[in-house]
Symmetry: C2
Subunit: 300 residues, 2 copies
């Protein structure tokens, strides 16, 4: 089943202790779409400026990614982010953010997008995310991401969003902030009680946790000796997860657990190189082989 | 099979954001022994001062713990530690350390201890740990713990120890320091190449990683909503792990993996209350029930 994602499309400058890259393809919708495209056709909604290299659009279209929902704003500039990773490769500092056209992003879905059944709302203001929800009345599964900024400055709107989506994906620091609880288990349960049927907490190099009314579990990250650039790991995780669910067309507890595992594995490849360099060098069989190793690893 | 542990016996003062306790039973050998006693008979080697409350000895002897190797030093004082946990309950600061009699600890094993087959060298100087190794020539499995202090000030002695023990248990920061590598996968592999057949990296609330020549895996911590006092979690982990191995009398890959899982589960109970309050309130069936939940949690 096709999967709709609405989110950022960006050009990233990334500095790590050992290497750096300028103006590489990035953004939540991009990492998400590419990761999900191993599993299912994807439709992207986003916005870019006149500086957007068309080679990136072709790169995405070579996968099963429909980029017709990427709007180019004449005279505008593409969202840019510059970040630097600390030596532990898990923490980072943002050096520059230029929202550019993404600051005025008002997604308008055409008929080809409005009947989507599986929808992911990448990190954007809850007001924007709510406006997308209004445009997909027939969606079967809606999952949103969020970030500390919105928890701090648009909490009411975020709480309204939480009452309307099926699932929420957020990182550990954001979960603690939103729940005002330093214990992640209690924080996850508290966020779930704010509305979504399930909550997934991303813990970076430490994996992910899942919370629903009847279930709670944790999955470690797949341990890789090669971490070159963690940018996009969280979005790739969400893309692998949602891609698997959309490919199955269901989201029962077993499907969700497998989906989390696929998310973990997809992200484990993303971090092995800059931008989408690693994901674009592997095939579905690589994901499945590593998933098998991961399954074995957790069996005792 | 009986299990020998050599390590610290302490009186702890613990401060957490919500509560604190003074002069409670602590020390690496104590947490280790109590945790291991769910699985197998334990023999403790340690040292205490005249201030040692005999009620603590009785408390340990009510389990299958042989305390005849705890030497009381006349006129001496017991090792004392005071620490404060940060709100995240994973990081802590040491406020006071008084080594007292533990500073002069020179373990001398009697005949009843020298023929031990399963031996755990709790955190102490590598010189002390090596002297214990010399006294257990017939040991089948020797595993040591260590800490940043020894990596920094007795590195040569520690490296000699690593060439002589079968296994090493250490935490994530220590593994990175010892291997001089910020990537935990590479760090674990590098430490293993220093000598031990296997290395276990403890990651606190994020679980543990295992490294041998042919295997590498990660196990998440069991997620508990109630973390009152993490003191002793690492030693309880090691105690559960070694206790299970000693009870089986073997340490093949499958036994080691189950042992790590038992370590994770034992530690998950320890943190739910101060000192040994939680471990002393549960039975083996509680460990096994939670182990079953944990196994299920990791299956997809």
């Amino acid at each position: 089943m096709p999967l709709l994602v609405v989110g950022s499309v960006a050009l990233d400058c990334v500095e790590t202790p050992t290497a750096s890259r300028d103006d590489v393809l990035g953004g939540s919708a991009v990492f998400f779409s590419y990761a999900a495209s191993f599993f299912t056709p994807v439709k992207m909604i986003g916005t870019v400026g006149e500086d957007w290299p068309s080679v990136h659009t072709r790169f995405l279209e070579e996968r099963s990614i429909d980029t017709s929902g990427i709007e180019m704003i004449p005279g505008g500039k593409t969202f840019r982010w510059r970040g630097r990773y600390l030596p532990n490769m898990n923490d980072r500092e943002t050096l520059e953010v230029h929202l550019n056209v993404f600051g005025e992003f008002k997604p308008k879905l055409g008929p080809a997008h409005r009947d989507s059944k599986f929808v992911f709302l990448g990190n954007a203001s809850p007001v924007t995310q709510l406006s997308v929800l209004d445009q997909v009345p027939g969606a079967q599964l809606t999952v949103a991401d969020t970030m500390d900024l919105w928890i701090n400055i648009q909490r009411d709107e975020l709480e309204e969003l939480l009452r309307r989506v099926d699932g929420l994906v957020l990182n550990d620091a954001e979960a603690k902030l939103l729940a005002e609880d330093e214990n992640l288990v209690r924080a996850g349960q508290a966020v779930r009680k704010m509305g979504p049927k399930f909550v997934v907490i991303k813990k970076g190099e430490h994996g992910a946790m899942f919370f629903s009314e009847h279930e709670m579990y944790v999955m470690p990250a797949y341990p890789t000796p090669q971490v070159l650039d963690p940018t996009g790991a969280g979005d790739s995780f969400a893309g692998g997860m949602m891609g698997h669910l959309a490919s199955l067309g269901r989201f029962d507890p077993q499907a969700l657990k497998e989906a989390l595992a696929y998310g973990v594995i997809t992200a484990s490849f993303t971090v092995e190189d800059f931008s989408l360099d690693r994901l674009s060098a592997i095939g579905r069989h690589d994901l499945d082989r590593r998933l098998g190793e991961y399954r074995q690893m957790l069996m005792f």
